[in-house]
């Protein structure tokens, strides 16, 4: 008995982690999956009901708006974060004097919660006393900036706040990537007559492919999960114009008490994330094994 215990001690020590994750992650996802095939309302029911919830989900105007918004948000969020992040990383890579201070400034939003960020931007973007008033006071009499309360434009305010929060993160990733490149490569390129632009465009950025990939995965992941920022900034409004899947899911579950429908939307989100993550984990693991 004691022998057995000693021999299996490592596995016993690991058991809590595996058990907890097995139950609370995999078990729960399966439970949600099951419920999504039932006609659960306020309380879960356990008799199967087929794919009715999914039909209902994809027939719902609100869900379609949420998916639309997600696509717009993800695309813009990705592009701006990556472009700004790369520009900042390259600029900071030029033996800048106050690099430490600048890096701290670019990255501090990552330390704040989306609720704090949302609260701040909500005030800044507020059409009466915010940016609009600032410009009018500066003498631009007819300046209007009412995106926050404009159905068409409200989604872009979420992009603005989201990019503000996450661009520094992409910068940190790329800076770490650029710093890990052997200096001799840059020296060789200088001798070959490449100017700074060519060095980055033709040589260093193509070497950053794994960093691009990582940033892509993490940013898409953030955007699919984004919930707090919308709650703090627009609550999905005006109307339902800035609803996103994460918000849709919690509203359907906890305000409308449509547990089955909300489980179906959660499973859709899960599948979207899995579609991005599984290839990523696979390639990372392969890279590690290749080493």
């Amino acid at each position: 008995m004691l022998k057995w215990l000693e021999k299996n001690l490592p596995k016993i020590v690991m058991a809590p982690a595996v058990g907890l994750i097995g139950w609370f992650v995999y078990g729960f996802v399966l439970w949600t999956l099951y419920i999504s095939f039932t006609n659960s309302k306020i309380l879960p029911k356990y008799e199967l009901w087929g794919v009715g919830q999914y039909v209902k989900l994809w027939g719902s105007r609100k869900w379609l708006i949420a998916v639309d918004n997600l696509l717009i948000f993800t695309a813009l969020f990705l592009i701006f974060c990556v472009v700004i992040g790369i520009i900042l990383a390259i600029f900071l890579d030029q033996k800048i004097r106050a690099e430490g201070v600048l890096r701290t400034i670019y990255l501090y939003p990552m330390a704040l919660s989306f609720i704090v960020t949302g609260t701040a931007w909500k005030w800044i973007l507020n059409p009466t006393l915010g940016i609009q008033k600032m410009f009018i006071d500066w003498g631009f009499e007819n300046f209007t900036f009412d995106w926050l309360v404009n159905r068409e434009m409200a989604i872009y305010t979420i992009v603005i706040a989201g990019v503000w929060q996450s661009a520094g993160f992409v910068m940190a990733l790329f800076l770490a990537g650029l710093r890990s490149v052997e200096d001799e490569i840059v020296k060789a390129a200088k001798i070959d007559g490449a100017n700074l632009f060519t060095v980055y465009w033709k040589i260093l950025l193509p070497m950053m492919r794994p960093v691009f990939f990582t940033s892509f995965v993490i940013l898409v992941h953030i955007s699919i999960k984004s919930y707090d920022l919308i709650v703090a900034l627009t609550q999905g409004g005006p109307g339902i114009s800035t609803t996103m899947p994460a918000l849709y899911m919690t509203q359907t579950a906890f305000h409308k008490s449509q547990v089955g429908l909300s489980a179906a939307s959660a499973i859709m989100m899960f599948m979207a994330v899995a579609a991005v993550i599984i290839p990523y984990l696979y390639s990372e693991l392969r890279r590690e094994n290749a080493r």
Binding site: K11, A111, T250
Partner: protein
């Protein structure tokens, strides 16, 4: 001939000097512009929180406050003292600490042990166990909200700090394991082998050999978990309301529920209060924070 070449070298020299100078000016200009963009919201938050509502209506976002007026901070922190309906952050701020400290401790400890086993007591299929845990970093939490709510209800700990500690501990394990596993994998296994030859057992090796050299990764993990849990809103808002809510939920309620007139100065003071602990950690230990972000959150 020789003079001519030397002259053309001189020209090249001047040209490269001027392009370099121009580039550098441009570089600093752009970097400062970006810095202003990132600083702007923080600046606005701070100055707004120091203004009176009257000043806010008169001036603009950028206007400097007339003095150091901490009234809105006092209101945000301690309320106005008229009893029911008076929402303020103080109790929720401590709620968050009561939730964060045990959750960080448990998740870090479990992650350290699991990372230790996965790297130093390898067994067949350990790669798969790791992958199994790692996937937990990425699941959208919406997929577990419904069963979690029911489970907390069944355990009788919904709407309590203990419930949130459980939730944050569990969903922190994948990250903490990842951090420790990636750190321990670079610690030479010879060290463990030597200790085993000397007769040290499983726990002795962990506490006497690995733990003493784990300070950097413990710092990274603790900072990461602290920031994540402190900043969480989804779990907090779903599983707790009223008295047991953590600060992010309280902040959101406060900002949304202002009844008659919006008091932006109080909102901004509240937002700063809710953000200060993580900002302090970031300023004091930014290096570790960034390390957690870039290395840990990335590599599998």
């Amino acid at each position: 001939m020789q003079d001519k070449l030397q002259a053309s070298y001189k020209q090249l020299e001047m040209k490269s000097k001027y392009t370099n100078m121009f580039l550098r000016w441009f570089l600093y200009f752009a970097l400062i512009l970006f810095a202003l963009y990132f600083i702007f919201p923080l600046y606005v938050m701070v100055v707004t929180s120091l203004k009176t509502m009257e000043e806010i209506r008169q001036g603009t976002l950028l206007t400097w406050p007339s003095g150091l007026n901490f009234d809105s901070w006092a209101v945000a922190w301690g309320g106005r003292g008229y009893g029911a309906g008076d929402t303020f952050l103080r109790p929720y701020f401590w709620n968050s600490f009561k939730m964060v400290i045990p959750a960080v401790f448990f998740s870090t400890f479990i992650g350290a042990m699991t990372g230790y086993v996965l790297t130093k007591w390898r067994f067949k299929g350990d790669q798969w166990v790791f992958l199994f845990l790692l996937f937990g970093c990425f699941i959208p939490f919406q997929a577990i909200l419904l069963p979690m709510a029911r489970t907390l209800g069944v355990l009788g700990i919904s709407n309590s700090i203990i419930g949130l500690v459980l939730v944050h501990t569990v969903y922190g394990i994948p990250f903490t394991t990842l951090f420790f596993r990636n750190y321990y994998i670079s610690v030479p296994t010879e060290l463990v082998k030597a200790a085993r030859i000397d007769g040290a057992g499983f726990f002795k090796i962990f506490f006497k050999i690995l733990l003493p050299i784990s300070a950097p990764i413990i710092v990274v993990t603790v900072i990461w978990q602290f920031t994540q849990i402190w900043n969480d809103f989804l779990f907090g808002s779903t599983f707790s309301f009223g008295k047991a809510a953590p600060i992010q939920v309280a902040l959101n309620n406060m900002v949304l529920s202002s009844t008659s007139v919006k008091e932006y100065n109080v909102d901004m003071a509240s937002a700063i209060i809710a953000g200060i602990p993580t900002l302090i950690v970031y300023v004091l230990a930014g290096k570790y924070f960034i390390r957690g972000l870039t290395s840990g959150a990335v590599k599998g």
